[in-house]
Subunit: 189 residues, 2 copies
């Protein structure tokens, strides 16, 4: 919450999102959905006008060594921005960001989406350190084995805790929500 030109700026919260391909069809992973929903219910609540969500999704490079950087290396501020993007390799990423942006619109919280390419944990930290949000929220798969549940915070979460300049929250799954399949959340978090 900074004051610039007499106006109080919103609290900016960056939320990392990723896809899951459980059942063969891409959709938002359970871990990032839990992180996003935690952010809405605990922090945004009905204080939406004072907050801004920065969604970040990091696409892994394709086999040919890269995607369309005009599309990938960009920031989007409305679901409408994605309407004319139909590249097959980016369809999932665009759908993912559009899905969460729509939810932000529904609760009236401002939102920007960052679509980037590279190694998720390093890119998330780099972007967080550039964008300087007040808080970075990432999900964690957790493990269904109770012995390990509490000590597992995920590789992306652990990396961000160590390398992001801003405060970081890792949202751990509670056991019933833990994905049964290792395919879920397999790409990043």
């Amino acid at each position: 919450m900074a004051v610039r030109g007499g106006e109080i700026e919103p609290t900016r919260i960056m939320v990392a999102v990723n896809e899951s391909k459980t059942n063969g069809y891409p959709h938002a992973s359970e871990s990032c959905t839990a992180a996003f929903e935690w952010t809405l219910k605990t922090i945004v609540r009905n204080n939406a006008s004072r907050l801004k969500i920065l969604l970040i999704h990091v696409q892994l490079p394709d086999d040919e060594g890269g995607s369309d950087h005009v599309i990938v290396d960009n920031i989007y501020s409305s679901p409408e921005d994605f309407k004319h993007m139909k590249r097959r390799d980016l369809f999932g990423a665009i759908r993912l960001l559009g899905y969460f942006m729509k939810q932000c619109q529904d609760v009236g919280v401002a939102c920007e989406a960052y679509l980037k390419e590279g190694v998720p944990k390093t890119i998330i930290c780099c972007e967080a350190n550039d964008a300087r949000p007040d808080l970075l929220v990432v999900g964690s798969r957790g493990l269904s084995l109770s012995t390990f549940r509490k000590i597992f915070i995920g590789s992306v979460g652990e990396y961000c805790l160590k390398h992001a300049d801003c405060p970081v929250i890792v949202i751990k799954h509670s056991p019933p929500e833990t994905p049964q399949s290792t395919l879920d959340d397999s790409t990043t978090l």
Copy 2:
């Protein structure tokens, strides 16, 4: 944010606080002050009526093996609750909690204070797991050496990240705020 009996409950944020004895005089440590102030400015903002702060301070046992448990093992809801407590060994702890409770009162956010005794990191986690806040916030001393600054999250922070059931934020110091003396924050965080 749970709904009970038709009423939406406030988001409950537990903040761990501790003393520092820099310059020989006890006062709130820089790390817990940073964590508390971060909570007020980033999350509470002017949404105070929807939130509740749970302050927790864990007193180390004295040399004789314990303090007055009527005083220590209790929860307080107003600075007035501390007025008649003058035991010398608890004076600092009571002053510390009163100091932060007063700030909560000033911004209009509800507050409870937990005064406990034992090993800080384990007691903080036990109390958090009992009280089930939506979020636990702890400070971290950080280190003034830039190489280590980003990877140091403090022993209490690290323990809570692994063992608390709720999401945890560790507020790291930025370099200029890092205490120069190792005496600061020496007791817990």
